[in-house]
Assembly symmetry: C2
Homo-oligomer: 312 residues x 2
């Protein structure tokens, strides 16, 4: 029985790596640059080299490593093959096989970064103690990861948990980054909140601390906490869209808990005051007791979840 | 290795039973009444007696039976415990344990009837060859069952796949049977289609073959096929709600295929002409190739899926 496991989270500019014991304690974590040139040909060799260096540094034998889990930004299917990771320059890439070969046959598991982060939050974060959860990341976009019976719901084409692009508004004139109109991401991401606030500032003459100031998800929720009426209305819109969206998700996969992370979640539990009314009003009665919690692992959720993938 | 398996589908008035070989060929099927009196105390003993009678009749030894799968109308958790089957008079009932004891320890598996029917359609029906599917039953209500990697998605409280009660309309004045307003079931069930048609007949003076005639999902789609303009509009509304609802579901669980069953599906493939436009317009691009098919097992989906549960 091996004692160690590596978790790797590949981002567009840096690769985060973590060395864990099999109980989920992080023993070391570090970063290397993501070299996206030449179609990202160096990324996996760089990771393999960094893993080998760390093993040498710590005096860890290959037999004592359960494996390496990898989260990557793109749709990853159930066989650990990633299909088009635009940010990395990759077309189709068999993470499991390629990285495994570079590490002399060491076990490798691969998953989509948002899904892997969800697994991390289940293991050691805001979803600890639960086996059925939906992680929601409110950052520049809205990401999601669904865990059913302790396992990532990958979906047929690796699009499971792509909750940022569920349709929530029929009357939207601006396109989402994905090309559709009225995606959840257009209202519940940091960018979406900023857009809602700017729209409202333009449409009304109402007084607000946001007027003439920097408008961001952070300043909006700071203003909400200070009792700014216009900001409270914007938070209400945000919560109405997100609450209804999460209620639909609850009716479909019936999780025990939603774990909310990403930059927007830094506003704290006040978010739930805006999400719960629409959630409670529209959710199926069998899902009324679904819990809400904040994510706790921040940017480390990916390396935790990646490591966890190897331990099944 | 056993050669036989029983599938049982408990309904409010009759219990359907099927004897299958382990390859999924139905060897016999029959029904017994559901005796709901005395809190449904006779239901499981009746089923056990009927299974034993069939084994005697066919000369099948207990060792040659893989087990008995049971679908029941209510939320069934991952342990085979059903929580409140109102139609049967049951409160909490441990299907697995109680029926197993009545059958001398024979293996019993239990599931929610809609979920079990989805598994049946995967095994031998419209979803054959797929391992990730969502079955949608458009009957008096709208039911659903989600299969991920060949297994039922039960959910934390047995409410997985309760897609009839996802919220799709903010401006609804009539309550759904569940108590909420604007559930998918209010527009996409047989009852919902009838309601949409009656509303439109009342609101407009438009000529229609439906005016003064019996209005039902069947007569509406018959009128659609005859080119009736008002009926086509009603079908458009139905398809808009259902197409958008299924697009959201696709973004969450990313199935390979939707299998559409229930009374409304007797209208045939014409349904897809009304569902696909809204689906294609609003679905996440990674899920654009999701297939649609009609269910093929009708009322037998339950006994097939129940039997299939035992073969894992």
């Amino acid at each position: 029985m091996a004692n160690y496991v590596f978790g790797v989270d590949i981002g567009g500019t840096t690769v985060k790596l973590g060395l864990f014991d099999v109980g989920g304690n992080v023993l070391d974590k570090w970063e290397i640059p993501t070299r996206t040139e030449n179609g990202g040909a160096n990324i996996l060799p760089d990771i393999a080299g960094s893993v080998r260096d760390k093993m040498k540094e710590k005096g860890i034998a290959a037999a004592d490593v359960a494996g390496v889990g990898v989260g990557a930004p793109g749709p990853v299917d159930g066989n650990g093959i990633i299909h088009k990771a635009v940010n990395l320059g990759w077309g189709e890439m068999n993470l499991k096989k390629e990285l495994g070969a570079l590490l002399n046959g060491m076990r490798v598991e691969g998953g989509n970064d948002a899904n892997v982060a969800a697994l991390g939050e289940m293991w050691k974060g805001g979803g600890q103690g639960y086996r059925n959860l939906v992680a929601v990341t409110l950052g520049t976009g809205v990401g999601g990861g669904i865990i059913i019976d302790g396992k990532i719901l990958t979906g047929a084409t690796g699009s499971g948990g792509e909750i940022g692009h569920i349709h929530v508004e029929d009357h939207e004139s601006e396109a989402c980054g994905c090309g559709n109109y009225g995606c959840l991401e257009e209202y519940a991401s940091a960018t979406g909140i900023t857009r809602l606030a700017n729209r409202r500032l333009q449409a009304s003459g109402e007084d607000s601390v946001l007027r003439g100031a920097e408008v961001s998800a952070k300043t909006v929720f700071d203003a909400v906490k200070a009792g700014d009426k216009l900001a409270v209305e914007v938070a209400g819109q945000f919560g109405e869209y997100l609450g209804k969206g999460l209620a639909v998700i609850a009716g479909v996969v019936n999780p025990e808990i939603f774990v909310i992370g990403g930059g927007v979640s830094k506003a704290g539990e006040i978010l739930f005051e805006y999400i719960r009314p629409a959630f409670d009003r529209t959710v199926f009665h069998g899902c009324k007791n679904t819990k809400f919690a904040l994510a706790t692992l921040g940017n480390d959720a990916g390396i935790y979840g990646a490591a966890r993938m190897v331990l099944d």
